[in-house]
């Protein structure tokens, strides 16, 4: 790219050829007013607010749609520019209602702000203002379409970023209306981003409607806790109550977007029945008690069960949004107390990979690279419903690259697939193996003898060959496995196939994980096969064994196995039959009170400090945004005191930072070691029954989301995205 030299407001700047004036000005911190321009969307140039004065041009020109040229002299504050901007503002205000006092956008409204600078105090317009009927577009977004100024950001977002046209403009001129055209709810999983995009109050958040003013809110940076991306967010709160969650820009993770799940899950904190005091069940009745009594009871029961069974009959299950600190303390406490039964993978069937693979779990390449892949192969991945924002990235790459999928279900995609295979769910590994066989035929020199022997006799057809060819041809290509693969009985085989196929085709590979902190939990050692930072450990019981075979004692940390686990019914029975169940939980509803003996109130999301490690291995620490209600305490504090009461040494932490620093030191000393698999795993024959289980729905993934009212009212909540009905059983 060549460079041109321009001058804006007397500042000499160097700009890339083809960039627009507004981009160059933004980079140089020169503010040009705008409504329709957004850096992530295409240029529409329909609001005309960004008029600037370019020397030697007769009229003012829109900065968002005028490419820079060598020697251009631009004045954004000249009388000509300001007159143009003022005229545009007068037009915009013709039909805009003056209802700022009742508008939720009031105080953070782009139109309000700019009308202070460019608006007249008196309107010359005496005719009637137009009124547009409001649309009911679902439980997440409130509309007031009379306020709309037709910037079409929301329309372009649906069209360009999500790939689902939910909004459109009908009519022209004064009769133009933004809407869904037919009565329909907006139901994409990232729909609420249009709230941020809307420069006026036409689209606002329904769950926080009328609750607070922008100037009352305090802002705390945090990390979203419902998928493995670790999207960066701001938590906005007022008088100790979370009012809303908005995205915090991070180009390498969530860009400027946020999924609806991350945005509205906070509601669960107030809508779920919160547990405010430690509770003990005595003769079938729950009684509130103080922390000391409850913790002493837990410690003595833990000692008794672990002592009596040599550590075999007590186990800890970590929940999907446990922080790394909680996992680290829980496993350290348990291992020191003499047991290795700790796990967080309540949805995994295949544990043969334990002890191999990487210290952490997840992707082996930066998420950003998904944007620019020439070929992306998805295996058992329903990205839209698992990690909605990765689907947007893959969609970006399909502008020039190819996306392919081997999914044993009718996936919903917001991008075009060049190749799609739909094997039966129990034949996923077999189908995938055909692709590897095809790749082997195309590049015969790259596989070792053992792998070749493994592939012997596997036949492939043209489609498999095409997929392999696409991966080989792509300069940048990747194989991405979804959460479904990790739940598959042949997870390890599929992982090996992906890794091998990646090496044959020179691709990147990785897998998405359940929950927000699978990588963190694994590094922390909350798995039966390894202690913190991949340290040695005797093999303990896996989540499957704990839940299906039954234990005498359980500790559940923010975990509801009766809903989350694959073996929900068995789990519920075993938990009911157990002698002693202690639940560290934020909520007093659900089925936990049925089977627990002691409930300890712990702080929920945004109420505790901690660290999440995302699927790429980024460590992201955050502080508590608000205080936990009642007697609830952060989970790491509870576990730390419990360890003290168990008379274990080395638990003198005073902050969560000390805990994570200790783990970080251990992890940095060894690094992310990969233990490669030498022998290919056997290809098992799996019975179809075993694979045809429901995945956790989009809004079912963790206790908080399950209690978030608005999300549960959306159409997507009532159906499991990959439910048994959608899994192909040919």
């Amino acid at each position: 790219m060549g460079k041109v030299h321009i001058e804006i407001d007397g500042q000499k700047l160097e700009a890339e050829v083809g960039s627009m004036i507004i981009e160059v000005a933004d980079k140089a911190d020169i503010y040009i007013p705008r409504f329709c321009y957004h850096k992530k969307l295409s240029v529409a140039a329909n609001c005309r607010m960004c008029m600037v004065d370019v020397a030697n041009l007769p009229k003012a020109v829109p900065a968002c749609a005028t490419p820079v040229a060598e020697g251009m002299v631009i004045d954004t504050r000249s009388q000509k520019a300001i007159n143009a901007q003022k005229a545009v503002m007068e037009f915009l205000l013709i039909n805009h209602p003056l209802d700022c006092p009742v508008c939720d956008q009031g105080g953070e409204c782009e139109l309000q702000d700019l009308s202070v600078g460019y608006g007249d105090d008196v309107s010359r317009f005496t005719e009637g203002k137009r009124v547009v009927k409001d649309k009911d577009i679902g439980p997440l977004i409130a509309t007031d379409m009379t306020r709309c100024i037709h910037c079409t950001r929301c329309v372009r977002f649906g069209q360009e970023i999500v790939g689902i046209r939910e909004f459109g403009a009908t009519g022209r001129g004064e009769h133009m209306e933004i809407g869904t055209y037919i009565e329909e709810t907006v139901e994409s999983e990232v729909s609420a981003n249009i709230i941020d995009l809307c420069p006026v109050g036409a689209l606002t958040a329904k769950p926080s409607q009328f609750k607070a003013r922008a100037w009352e809110l305090r802002q705390a940076p945090s990390i979203a806790a419902h998928d493995c991306l670790g999207s960066n967010i701001f938590v906005h709160h007022r008088r100790g109550e979370i009012i809303r969650v908005v995205p915090r820009e991070n180009e390498s993770i969530n860009e400027v977007w946020l999924s609806d799940r991350d945005r509205f899950s906070y509601q669960g904190l107030t809508e779920g029945a919160r547990l405010l005091n430690p509770r003990i069940k005595r003769n079938g009745e729950w009684e509130d008690c103080d922390w000391q009594t409850a913790l002493n009871l837990v410690a003595s029961e833990m000692k008794r069960i672990i002592g009596a069974s040599n550590g075999n009959d007590f186990g800890i299950l970590m929940g999907n949004n446990a922080t790394t600190e909680e996992s680290y303390l829980a496993q350290r406490m348990l291992r020191k107390a003499g047991s290795n039964n700790i796990d967080f993978r309540t949805r995994r069937r295949d544990y043969t990979g334990d002890g191999r693979g990487s210290v952490r779990s997840g992707m082996n390449f930066p998420m950003e690279n998904l944007d620019t892949m020439d070929a992306t192969l998805l295996i058992g991945a329903d990205l839209r419903h698992e990690q909605p924002l990765t689907a947007l990235r893959v969609r970006k790459s399909t502008g020039y690259g190819k996306a392919m999928a081997i999914n044993p279900f009718d996936g919903e995609y917001n991008f075009r697939l060049s190749n799609e295979l739909q094997p039966k769910s129990n034949m996923l590994a077999q189908e995938f193996a055909c692709v590897l066989a095809a790749a082997d035929a195309l590049r015969p020199e790259s596989l070792n003898a053992e792998a070749k022997e493994w592939l012997d006799g596997i036949e492939f057809n043209d489609e498999h060959k095409e997929i392999a060819q696409n991966l080989i041809d792509g300069e940048a290509s990747c194989i991405l496995m979804g959460v479904y693969v990790q739940e598959h009985p042949q997870a390890e085989t599929i992982n090996w196939l992906a890794e091998t196929l990646a090496s044959v085709t020179d691709s990147d590979w990785g897998y998405m994980t359940q929950g927000c902190n699978a990588a963190g939990n694994k590094i922390a050692g909350a798995v039966p096969c390894q202690s913190a930072a991949g340290g040695k450990s005797e093999q303990g019981k896996t989540a499957k064994e704990m839940l299906t075979e039954g234990l005498k004692g359980y500790m559940l940390v923010n975990c509801e196995p009766d809903v989350e686990s694959i073996w929900a019914e068995q789990a519920l029975q075993n938990l009911k039959d157990a002698e002693f169940v202690v639940a560290l939980t934020s909520f007093a509803d659900g089925r936990v009170p049925d089977y627990a003996n002691v409930m300890l109130p712990i702080a929920g999301c945004y109420e505790t400090s901690g660290t999440y490690i995302n699927v790429e291995g980024k460590w992201q620490s955050f502080a508590a945004a608000v205080k936990a209600p009642g007697e609830a305490r952060p989970g790491w504090k509870v576990l730390r005191v419990l360890a003290n009461l168990l008379d274990l040494s080395g638990f003198e932490y005073e902050s969560s930072l000390q805990v994570i620093n200790e783990l970080r030191e251990k992890f940095d000393a060894v690094g992310d070691v990969r233990v490669a698999r030498k022998v290919p795993p056997p290809m098992m024959v799996v019975n179809e029954q075993e694979t045809n289980r429901e995945c956790l729905g989009l809004y079912m993934v963790d206790p908080l989301v399950r209690r978030a009212g608005a999300l549960q009212k959306t159409p997507k909540a009532s159906t499991h995205p990959i439910s048994i009905s959608r899994v192909k059983t040919r």
Binding site: P101, G106, Q209, F210, R213, W215, E216
Partner: protein, 163 residues
């Protein structure tokens, strides 16, 4: 000579009579004493006394929970919580409280109100008998509005041309 004059003056009680002249003059002048509480001093239409929340003639409360009064209050005496009203979903306050111990009666709330809802009435004589009563709740404020609506409306009318 000077001493002699002084002697005569004091002997004839001249100074005293001068003083008595003032006293007598005032004895027959019109009294300015106001027999509070039976009588009250006149008040300006702009008088800033106890607060009230007004309603429209049809009984609908005026306040739309824009929270400008809360934002402008220099003493942070106003606390508002808002949300959609249950029956029709319009924007209303769920809590509107003024702490009279904090309030400095500056009248900014009244000035900032876009719908003339929060106003200060002419009521200035009040007392609290119990701790906690110094916080005027939304119900108390609306009641104040109902009682004094005629006066409030007349005052706004009188002041309208200056606003």
């Amino acid at each position: 000579m000077k001493q002699f004059k002084q002697f005569i003056n004091s002997f004839l009680l001249i100074e005293l009579l001068k003083g008595m002249k003032v006293t007598f003059a005032n004895m027959f002048r019109k009294k300015i004493t106001v027999q509070y509480p039976e009588e009250k001093t006149p008040q300006s239409p702009r008088f800033r006394g106890l607060h009230a929340l007004r309603t429209y003639p049809n009984g609908e409360e005026r306040c739309i929970a824009c929270k400008l009064c809360e934002a402008v209050c220099p003493a942070a005496a106003i606390t508002i919580e808002a949300g959609p009203r249950e029956d029709d979903g319009t924007r209303r306050t769920t809590k509107y409280e003024i702490d009279l111990f904090k309030c400095i009666f500056c009248g900014f709330c009244e000035e900032s109100c876009p719908v003339d809802s929060i106003v200060e009435t002419r009521v200035f004589d009040y007392h609290f008998e119990e701790r906690g009563l110094h916080i005027m709740t939304k119900d108390m404020l609306l009641e104040m509005g109902r009682i004094h609506e005629d006066q409030i409306a007349a005052d706004r009318e009188a002041d309208a041309k200056y606003r």
